[in-house]
Symmetry: C2
Subunit: 140 residues, 2 copies
Amino acid sequence: MTSYREQARLLRLMAHPMRLEILSILREADECVCHLSAVLKKPQPYVSQQLAVLRKEGLITDHNEGTYVFYGLADTPAAAQAAAILRVIAPEARSSVAGGHRRVAGCNCPKCEAEGTCSSRPAATQASNSPLQPERVRLP
Amino acid sequence: MTSYREQARLLRLMAHPMRLEILSILREADECVCHLSAVLKKPQPYVSQQLAVLRKEGLITDHNEGTYVFYGLADTPAAAQAAAILRVIAPEARSSVAGGHRRVAGCNCPKCEAEGTCSSRPAATQASNSPLQPERVRLP
DNA sequence: ATTGTGTATGCAGAAATTTCTATATAGCGA
DNA sequence: TCGCTATATAGAAATTTCTGCATACACAAT
């Protein structure tokens, strides 16, 4: 039986808006760091740090695909409990596209690029959408 | 739909060993402050403070019985979510006496006094402070 | 009024967390 | 190789939380 201290530890990991949203996103699909950064509208180092916290506690795992690092829920008892808690506090699916990857402007990962049918082109919304990331504008 | 911030707020309330144990106890039965203080082996002001935190957020409610204040899970959506989370992280009942009150040495509340079959009876507790119970333990 | 008991609250130092900036590492293509 | 991109990490400041302690409050009995 897990002690209250351990249980509180798991809850504390989730008791953070960003980490909670990250877990909520990863519950549906694996995503890369830049994707999370774009969705959460937070600077990449900040997202990376929160991911490191979750990874250190065994809630999520990472795997590389080229230069991209994809994160997903781990296959551990703690992660299973976290998923169960997520189902309790947010039974409904998060994204509009149920159970899938949601393309987002500002992410260049292959997973995002593969989906051609995106309503909003990155170029149109990038200027106003992500002022947190240093903008890399490619001149022709 | 509740935001991640609100959800994280609820989780943070529970992400604390003492508060978690308090909720776990109150899930089974209403208890007075002195009872919780004795069970948790923590000074009364400390317990009261944690109870105040939970009460302020609407997770628990209190009602007076004489000088005693009994706390129990509130009848709010937040409390219902908390109970659901408790069932996830600790499905089994906490106390040996399932679904009931557990007498504890150091608590003089009428609820504890009513149960006569206790292994350790505090010798110096002849303080007849139970206005609701006619049967007082009185020394001649 | 005074005493005693149960409970609530305010406060201060300590400890932990949040969040940012700056910088380092690593893979890929030219 | 170099430059670019994606990610990780270190450090630090601001903020919040934890926790023990003293004391105040409420109420009943003396």
